[in-house]
């Protein structure tokens, strides 16, 4: 018997945003005369889905279908200021800014609709399908397109809104470290199962089970993308990646994707995920940010699973076959722990 299975767990929390630098983001929302909305941002979509999630936030807030909203990102001449896409701040900060802008735009839209329908704006509601009607009297209705035309060509109103979300900078006490580093925290717990070859030190992933709490999954498919891809990156960090394989000795740095090790499509394992939603008081619809924290529990869970499998602790990353083998040899052989 040279291959041993083991399971390990880790649980983590993750701070959202970067209050320590001051943390503003802005958004502008406006309608064109056909009642289609543009969100102008200078925020970046580097694959995490910024354009898509802010689009849903805007549509929900305006009360229009998501197809009627287009998010334009990252043009410094048209998009208002944003700190950038980092610190898990996109969904939370930019989302809040878009919400605020959409709320203001919705206010103008409802006023314009009220004028057309000759009612009080407070008596109107959106149906989410592109119409505005009198509460309790759906037949007294006007399309957002007609409202936009009226606003532009008849009433002289700009259906638009400005939004900013700012967390004032938090200073840090030099003596105690007292500070307000973030506004909310996401949470996770992950169980990793591995198989360890005690003759070669090779570790293979067998499966993962996890629970992530994200405030609210604004778009479960986008959340799934982050969690699946992020956990893959966690495996990668745990077992493979390093630009300095002999750190702190800087030699033998990788030059290409053969030398820089990341798990291939043949190294992945089944991953069963549960998503919990405990809304953050200041998150857009309660959302926190799933983007960064998803990798973090994987690293220690894998290390702990290796201990469970063969009884060795590797406290240095990445947990290469060499490190596992050295530890097994130092211990005088594998010592599988109680199966979990």
């Amino acid at each position: 018997m040279t291959r041993h299975r083991g399971r390990g767990i880790a649980s983590i929390n993750y701070p959202i945003g970067m209050n320590l630098g001051g943390d503003p983001s802005q958004a502008l929302v406006h309608s064109n005369p056909s009642g289609k909305f543009t969100v102008a941002l200078s925020s970046i979509d580097l694959g995490q889905g910024m354009k898509s999630v802010t689009r849903q936030i805007c549509a929900e807030t305006l009360g229009v279908p998501v197809e009627d909203v287009y998010v334009d990102t990252a043009d410094s001449d048209t998009g208002p200021h944003c700190m950038g896409s980092f610190a898990s701040r996109g969904t939370h900060r930019v989302g809040n800014a878009v919400m605020m802008a959409a709320r203001e735009a919705r206010g103008v839209m409802m006023e314009a609709a009220a004028e057309e329908l000759e009612v009080n704006a407070a008596d109107l509601e959106t149906d989410g399908r592109g119409n505005i009607h009198v509460k309790g009297a759906p037949h007294r209705s006007i399309s957002t397109k007609d409202v936009a035309i009226a606003a532009q060509f008849k009433q002289g109103k700009t259906i638009s809104g400005r939004g900013i979300f700012l967390v004032p900078l938090s200073d840090v006490d030099p003596e105690t470290g007292e500070m307000s580093p973030a506004t909310c925290y996401a949470h996770a717990c992950l169980v990793a199962e591995v198989e360890v070859d005690d003759e070669t030190g090779e570790v293979a992933m067998v499966r993962m089970d996890s629970a992530y709490e994200l405030g609210r999954a604004l778009n479960p498919r986008l959340v799934e993308q982050q969690l699946v891809g992020g956990a893959w990156m966690g495996i990668s960090h745990a077992l493979y990646e390093t630009p300095e394989p002999y750190y702190p000795d800087p030699s033998h740095g990788p030059r290409d994707f053969v030398e820089y090790l990341m798990p291939g499509p043949g190294d992945i394992c089944p991953h069963d995920i549960a998503v919990l939603e405990r809304p953050a008081a200041d998150g857009p619809f309660g959302a926190k940010g799933p983007g960064e924290m998803c990798a973090n529990p994987v690293l220690p869970a894998v290390a702990n699973a290796i201990f469970n499998a063969v009884g060795v602790r590797v406290d240095e990353l990445p947990i290469t076959p060499e490190r596992v083998l050295r530890a097994i040899k130092a211990q005088g052989g594998a010592r599988p722990q109680a199966r979990r």
């Binding site: 580097l46 694959g47 699946v228 891809g229 893959w232 994707f257 291939g264 499509p265 992945i268």
Partner: protein, 159 residues
């Protein structure tokens, strides 16, 4: 040294360009023909973002000397769509959320097409093998594998 005249079929149309000696096909496609679908990811043959089909075979355009495609047929992602209709692979990638940043997607799709053109009903292992030359840093590969399997089964099931 003068430029060399080069003619080949690009996505079903004849093109003629002049290339400098040593120009690779990726640069020729992007800079001289204006087909931006193949991407530069490494120039080393390690990431597959520049993958194209040459006479139906999967090749890395960054490692292909442009003039070696003279008289041959080069297909890029730009050829996959049939007018407004997405190719089943494109549809399956979308349905399976198999792209995040999107940068590896053109190469992935070409690698997947090369597979399905020869093997319309691949196993999961064959799909993994087919995309093994393509690096994706975002998705963890699982949605991509699922997308190719779904396209292979006519989009009927998420395998």
């Amino acid at each position: 040294m003068a430029k060399t005249a080069l003619q080949f079929r690009h996505n079903g149309r004849d093109v003629a360009i002049f290339v400098d000696g040593g120009t690779n096909l990726l640069a020729a496609l992007r800079e001289l023909i204006g087909d931006m679908t193949p991407k530069f990811g490494c120039g080393q043959g390690g990431c597959g973002a520049c993958s194209v089909l040459i006479d139906g075979e999967l090749h890395l355009s960054c490692l292909t000397l442009a003039e070696t495609v003279a008289g041959r047929s080069v297909e890029t992602l730009d050829s996959l769509k049939d007018g407004p209709n997405l190719h089943p692979l494109q549809r399956a990638f979308a349905d399976n959320f198999a792209a995040q940043c999107g940068y590896c997607t053109p190469g992935m799709l070409m690698a997947a097409k090369a597979l399905l053109d020869r093997n319309p009903q691949p196993s999961r292992t064959e799909v993994i093998e087919a995309i093994s030359g393509n690096i994706c840093r975002c998705t963890g590969y699982e949605p991509i594998i699922n997308a190719v399997l779904a396209a292979a089964s006519g989009g009927r099931a998420r395998a």
